[in-house]
């Protein structure tokens, strides 16, 4: 379903936002993904993924506190919406379905 379309990177960002519940803003999300996935994340890719998902309705955001380190600028905290949850469920389910459909014999790797 087109409605729940999620890219691979988008899915990871969405999941990470869920993991960091209550503390999900740009820097923390980036650090979390880099730590867990051991991959480099560019600010541009992350930010555009976040805004894109927000406009799709998978994410919601609000301004939070500011710190001195940020030059007095506020953080924007993200959280998953109900629709975002559905999208994650849908994605997970379709993958699971596919996984379950694989016949056992396909995984029987023999030296031949």
């Amino acid at each position: 379903m087109k409605k729940y379309q999620l890219g691979e990177f988008e899915e990871i960002v969405l999941l990470t936002v869920g993991v960091l519940y209550g503390n999900a803003y740009g820097v923390s999300i980036k650090e979390e993904i880099e730590k867990r996935q051991k991959r480099k994340v560019s600010v541009g890719a992350l930010q555009s993924a976040l805004r894109r998902m927000e406009s799709k309705g998978f994410l919601d955001s609000e301004f939070g506190e500011s710190t001195k380190m940020r030059g007095g600028k506020r953080k924007r905290y993200f959280k998953i919406t109900a629709l975002g949850k559905k999208a994650l469920d849908y994605n997970m389910q379709t993958r699971l379905d596919l996984w379950n459909q694989i016949p056992d014999v396909a995984f029987e790797f023999k030296l031949c």
Partner: protein, 880 residues
């Protein structure tokens, strides 16, 4: 620094809603990086992140996002335009066809004009290169020519530091050459100074730049000649033999072929050192073409003023010697010695002097064709406007509904403009295809060899895009404003403004079209009659059934027996040996005076030709007084036959028996005196553009060529027998021949080209105008369908109905004729004044032009009108 710039950049492009928190994030990363990796890295990283943040989803409100509605509208407009075009296929066809044809014509003209304007500009420093030209007048003889004295080039370089380089060429002739006993006819040979390659940057493919032509018996040839003569072999150092001169030339260099847009196309440069007169210090004979390159800081005018000093310095002594008076006295008594410069860029289009190396173009034609091209395009645009406004009623309802639904006028204008531009785009695509289809014929007619003038290197394509839009807007702007101005209430209530208000504007547009058409028709009638007048004018000699055998002199001792053998054939009437053949562009000029002349002021510049006894008979010259040379009079070797002009110029009322002599170059020179034994009728021995000059014939052996007069209908036989005899006696030399009438026809190549181009353009213009008129007539008749039906029911005859329908167009054609005739008259008399022999401008031309247009208009309108007038009235009236 980098960070500040990055921040600025980010604020510039990022959407304001996202700016605060992303900037905060960036600051945070910056602080972290600063701690971990130092300031430099942090700065750099900050900037890189800013660049990577440039994403579509993060951009601020911009021109694209704000205007996306318009893009959607353009799409919609295109769809509407396409549908309306498909709904009226006939009108679409007329519009597109007319526009495409006119665009093709315009493109071809543009290609022509661009090529004409590009002449000689490809040489390096071409803006510093000049040719020296002379204007000389002594007694009644005027020379306006490109030839200059032999020492001119050297003197200019030596005396004036402004002259960076100077060099000479002489002649542009063809010759029979041989390489390893194989014969070739080689065209475009010239004598050249070594320095000519310093002036013109002709690419040198082989050879040493410094030593190309600096030794006797050397020659430089171009690439295609090298390929022709030697094929795969290495041409360097090979020997070329010039037949008839017994000279062997060593090839010292190969140059690239000279580009077609150059005012000369030499293929072979012989060294000037082979000419005996190359170092002659004689200033009163002008035979060399001198080119100079000035340094960039010198202007043409500044340098030209120096020539006066040059003339004083070098001419004084020699003038004194030659004519016995001082230079000052000679100049004071009305003689002129004037040298000037012409920039290299101007030579092709602006120079038309005596002895040009090749026939040049003419700026007159460049202007003329540009104007015609513009007219043709204008006519097509007018067609489009006319059709659009005339058919306004069809679109009126659409406009009304759109307005009621909230369309702004601006949007409607956009819609109609889009339609026009779409039309013009399609027409351009068609036009470009047609242009490439027509290109081979174009090359043939214009004698050019253009391959890919539109999209190739330095092609015209950037202009295409601009002119496509311009034509679309020009043709669409007026209908767009008219159509979009309709009041929706009126239109929807049925009070259709049947395009009546615009009717007078339409009339004006039709008048403009017809004015242009009539102008072109009159123009082509005049061009046509002038050129056929020249070609059919009484030449004064017989050009038919004359075979010219080239290089007869190469037969040597066998020549006379060749002649006698020919004469034994009953089909051959007479044979004359002389290389002086009319139309062959041979000139041999020298001043003569009457025997009793006392001053040099009486000198007459004379073309003197060496002929034999049979010359008059072979060429059919008419002797009006006295007689031609005759073998029975041994004294004829000191006799001359003069033409009527010469007799007049010498001032002899009864010239037979009077004596003339060549003017002595100095007092010591002894000259022989000749007796006039006959007067011949003037005959046209050179281009018909110039007057017939004084000419005398002398009985002197001249073994260059042979003319053979034969009986009609024996062409093939005579050719066969001549060739057979030739191969028997020549020992392998190729038989080269020509027919006098064909040579003469070829001398009109240029004029014929112009004639063809002009006629083609005229036909195109009339075709386009007729297409438009046809559409307009179809529409008008359609509009008056009911009126015609009612009139017919009430008893009007077909003739009366036709008259009714023709009336308006006839009036319009008359108004156009009134406008076009004076303009055409002005241009025609201007053009004709360039000819020595011109037709008189009779009113017939103008009446024929106007009538022709009227007839074409009637025929165009006639079909529609006749259809409407003969139709059963019930068909016209029943439909509601």
């Amino acid at each position: 620094m980098l960070k500040r710039f990055g921040e600025r950049l980010f604020s510039f492009y990022c959407h304001p809603d996202f700016q605060e928190d992303i900037k905060g994030d960036l600051e945070e990363y910056y602080a972290l990086n600063l701690e971990d990796k130092g300031e430099k890295y942090a700065n750099r990283k900050f900037f890189v992140d800013v660049i990577l943040l440039f994403r579509l989803s993060l951009l601020r409100d911009n021109w694209f996002s704000r205007n996306s509605i318009y893009f959607a509208m353009v799409k919609n407009n295109l769809k509407v335009a396409y549908r309306s075009m498909m709904r009226h296929k006939f009108y679409t066809f007329l519009n597109l066809g007319g526009l495409a044809i006119s665009i093709t014509a315009c493109l071809l003209i543009a290609i022509f004009v661009k090529d004409e304007l590009s002449y000689d500009r490809h040489f390096e420093n071409s803006d510093q290169i000049y040719r020296v030209q002379s204007y000389l007048k002594f007694a009644d003889n005027i020379f306006d020519m490109i030839a200059t004295p032999s020492p001119m080039a050297a003197a200019l370089k030596q005396d004036y530091p402004e002259v960076e380089q100077s060099g000479r060429v002489r002649g542009n002739f063809s010759s029979l050459i041989s390489v390893n006993n194989q014969f070739f006819r080689q065209e475009n040979i010239t004598y050249a100074d070594n320095s000519i390659f310093d002036i013109f940057s002709i690419e040198l493919l082989r050879g040493n730049r410094e030593h190309l032509l600096d030794e006797p018996n050397t020659v430089v040839i171009n690439r295609s000649t090298a390929e022709k003569l030697f094929g795969e072999e290495d041409p360097m150092g090979q020997i070329i033999r010039i037949e008839g001169q017994d000279q062997d030339l060593k090839i010292t260099g190969i140059v690239e072929d000279i580009r077609s847009n150059t005012h000369f196309h030499f293929q072979m440069f012989r060294t000037m050192l082979d000419r005996g007169d190359h170092n002659q210090q004689f200033w009163l004979s002008n035979n060399f073409v001198t080119y100079i390159r000035l340094n960039p800081n010198t202007t043409e005018e500044a340098f030209e003023s120096q020539f006066e000093g040059l003339v004083k310095k070098y001419f004084a002594e020699q003038v004194q010697q030659a004519v016995g008076v001082s230079l000052e006295t000679a100049l004071a008594s009305g003689n002129i010695i004037d040298y000037s410069l012409i920039p290299l860029h101007d030579i092709h289009l602006h120079s038309n002097k005596d002895f040009e190396l090749e026939a040049n173009g003419s700026v007159q034609y460049v202007y003329l064709f540009s104007i015609i091209g513009f007219f043709i395009l204008l006519i097509a645009c007018i067609n489009f406007m006319n059709m659009a406004t005339a058919r306004a009623s069809i679109r009126a309802k659409e406009v009304g509904v759109r307005k009621v639904l909230g369309s702004l006028r601006k949007q409607l204008v956009n819609q109609f403009l889009t339609e026009a531009i779409l039309n013009s785009l399609l027409a351009f695509i068609l036009g470009i295809i047609l242009t490439y289809v027509a290109l081979p014929y174009f090359n043939q007619i214009t004698n050019k060899s253009l391959v890919d003038p539109l999209f190739g290197a330095s092609g015209l394509w950037p202009y295409l895009v601009v002119s496509c839009l311009a034509v679309g807007i020009l043709a669409g702007i007026y209908p767009a404003f008219v159509l979009s101005s309709y009041r929706p209430v009126k239109v929807l209530k049925g009070e259709v403004t049947q395009g009546k208000k615009a009717s007078w504007i339409r009339s004006i547009l039709v008048v403009i079209q017809f004015t242009a058409s009539i102008f072109l028709i009159i123009g082509s009638i005049i061009v046509y009659s002038q050129l056929s007048y020249l070609q059919n004018k009484e030449l004064g000699f017989n050009k038919d059934q004359v075979l010219i055998v080239n290089n007869a002199g190469l037969l040597g001792q066998n020549m006379m027996s060749f002649k006698n053998e020919l004469l034994r054939n009953p089909n051959i009437e007479s044979v004359s040996v002389s290389s002086y053949i009319p139309a062959a562009n041979i000139f041999n000029d020298t001043p003569f005076v009457r025997e009793d002349a006392t001053t040099s002021d009486e000198a007459v510049s004379i073309q003197y030709w060496n002929v034999d006894y049979d010359y008059a008979k072979t060429l059919g010259l008419q002797i009006t007084e006295g007689r031609f040379f005759d073998r029975e009079f041994p004294t004829d070797s000191m006799g001359v036959v003069v033409n009527e002009t010469a007799a007049r110029r010498f001032g002899y009322d009864d010239p037979i028996g009077k004596k003339i002599k060549p003017m002595a170059l100095n007092a010591q020179q002894a000259v022989s005196v000749f007796t006039i034994i006959g007067v011949m009728k003037d005959f046209h021995y050179q281009s018909m553009r110039t007057d017939i000059l004084p000419q005398i014939l002398m009985l002197r052996p001249d073994i260059g060529g042979m003319s053979v007069k034969f009986k009609a209908a024996a062409t093939k036989e005579v050719l066969e027998i001549s060739e057979e005899l030739w191969s028997e006696m020549s020992g392998g030399l190729p038989f080269e021949f020509d027919f006098l009438d064909e040579m003469f026809a070829r001398s009109f190549d240029n004029e014929n080209r112009i004639k063809t181009i002009f006629s083609v353009l005229t036909v195109l213009a009339i075709l386009v105008a007729s297409l438009g008129l046809f559409g307009l007539a179809a529409y008008v008749t359609e509009q008056r369908k009911k009126e015609i039906g009612i009139r017919k029911v009430l008893g009007a005859s077909t003739i009366k109905l036709l008259r009714l329908l023709f009336q308006k167009f006839t009036v319009l054609v008359f108004i156009s004729a009134l406008l076009a005739v004076p303009v055409a008259y002005y241009f025609a008399s201007d053009w004709l004044s360039g000819f020595a022999y011109a037709i008189k401008l009779s009113p017939v031309f103008f009446i024929a032009g106007a009538l022709g247009t009227l007839i074409i208009a009637w025929m165009t309108v006639g079909y529609q009108s006749l259809k409407a007038a003969t139709r059963n009235p019930i068909d016209n009236l029943r439909v509601e």
